[in-house]
Symmetry: C2
């Protein structure tokens, strides 16, 4: 029997998702493990290993798993470790040799690990809109802004495994917003879900302009999207502003690695109808003539519920 299947694991602060995946990107079986509030990594790894074994049995693929791919916050491809990840209590204050330990706990099946955004990039390249592309940049617009850079068909890990922190490149140099990382003006402070909500709240406070959002408590980016759908002018302008800042930085990224495409993924990418035009315009306005109008701006087509598992699983094909 060939080893024609892989397992993808997406590690999150609230829960981790697991899936058994075939070569065409079909998720044959999946499950969710709720995060244990423990600081002992070995407990977490043991529980995940048991969940993997159970899921593989359930899919009827025992003995047919080629490898396991893991996407995790602060996951390092070179070392296989998860280190100082603020949202994981078992890896927030230390470095955990995750790949090695998980492999040992599952009878030696090889495990590859990287961060979420890199996993998403591998997923798009293997199963998604970047299939067949050798040069693209994945930007994940979620709670934060992550990135996975592909050059010559390979994810860029850099000298230390941490390449591709484009969410913390500077978007607003002077009087920029404080970012969660401690710096100011980061792209993430403007173009994440939190950034969008913050822009809306700041603008509401700074004017008397009528807006549907004035009735909303604790505005989220979803609320801004819903208001924009209703034709709310302020909400639409929030997306224009967000797109402009994103597009300006995308131009910088294009001038670095000359990709065929930028691929957007994550919660904010679902607001495509509002964010596509301003982002594309700002990107082209800030590109050298040789690239103007030539770089594609794509949105991930992977089903949101499967995407994280697929991305992680795709890593395992390279094992």
């Amino acid at each position: 029997m060939g080893k024609d299947y892989v397992v993808g694991i997406d590690i999150g602060g609230q829960s981790s998702k697991l899936g058994v995946v075939d070569a065409r990107g079909e998720v044959l079986a999946q499950s969710v493990v709720k995060a244990l509030n423990v600081t002992d990594a070995d407990v977490v790894i043991k529980e995940l290993a048991e969940a993997v074994i159970k899921l593989v049995a359930q899919a009827g693929k025992h003995g047919q798993i080629r490898g396991i791919g893991v996407g995790a916050p602060n996951g390092n491809y070179y070392t296989g470790s998860i280190a100082f990840a603020p949202n994981l209590p078992w890896a927030s204050k230390c470095s955990v040799e995750f790949a090695k330990k998980l492999s040992e706990a599952i009878g030696g099946i090889p495990v590859a690990l990287t961060n979420d955004a890199n996993a998403a990039a591998v997923g798009e390249m293997t199963y998604g809109v970047a299939k067949g592309m050798k040069h693209f940049i994945m930007i994940t617009l979620g709670t934060g802004v992550g990135s996975g850079i592909v050059i010559d068909g390979k994810v860029v890990y850099g000298s230390d495994g941490f390449a591709g922190e484009l969410g913390h490149n500077c978007a607003v140099r002077h009087n920029g917003r404080l970012c969660g990382c401690g710096k100011t003006g980061c792209l993430e402070a403007y173009c994440s879900a939190i950034g969008v909500a913050r822009t809306a709240r700041e603008w509401l406070e700074g004017s008397d302009e009528p807006s549907l959002l004035r009735d909303v408590q604790n505005i989220t980016s979803k609320d801004v999207y819903d208001a924009a759908k209703e034709g709310d002018k302020l909400a639409i302008r929030v997306f224009n502003f967000t797109g402009r800042i994103l597009g300006e930085k995308l131009a910088d990224f294009v001038q670095f690695s000359a990709p065929e495409a930028i691929v957007l993924f994550g919660g904010l990418a679902r607001s495509k109808e509002f964010i596509y035009e301003p982002t594309l315009k700002a990107m082209n306005d800030n590109l050298l003539p040789l690239w103007k109008g030539k770089v594609k701006l794509l949105f991930s087509q992977l089903k949101e519920s499967d995407a994280a598992i697929l991305g992680a699983s795709a890593l395992a094909w390279e094992l």
Copy 2:
């Protein structure tokens, strides 16, 4: 007899430099061909081919040349062409199949071509301060600002061969200076030799502060350096300002590809004593904690007169 030597050619608007180089990076013989003011590329190529043949004979290495490496403005590694290079009258309005034609004119010796900054990066990796490094970014601070990016030991050319135009990434977003490329606020508009001179002129006009530079007509970056050497406060502040802008952008670049080092080269890099500290400080101030203090800021050690030839020649070892 082995083919143990290469030829490097650095194509410039005023003149082109040629050299025969050995594997240790010794330039055995070199010559200069003054640019012909012609629009016919074939004439230029014929003259260069003759100069190469003459130089190889002079070095006594006939039949021992492995290949020829060429660094040229707007040179494209993939296509071997020089296209729309404003400073080359024979390639300013068209695309010239330079590598193919030169190879034909020299009896089939293989020719590799890239732009000047990429050639400089290969030169540093082969003979210079980046020897043995797999991940670094070369920034050339000359009349303009160029860049050559090395990831996993290879120059990044991107999907089209034009990757690495970091001089045209945006350094000053609002009310930025007009750059020669037509955009505003580009790094090149501030951190090139021309940018430094411009900063000095603007500051002199905008204040009554005494400065040695007030006696200078048509200030150049060399004048600013000379004044700084004399302790001129305004001139020193010009370098502080230039270094800050450069360092801020270097942080963005580091967060893209996580290099071991940034290597500075070119006229402005000779002002190391004034530009090193502010550049390094601004870079570290703008990096995520994981990179602070860890990325080296190096200055090219190659002899200026040889560096362009060495850089171009290094390409030929890969043929």
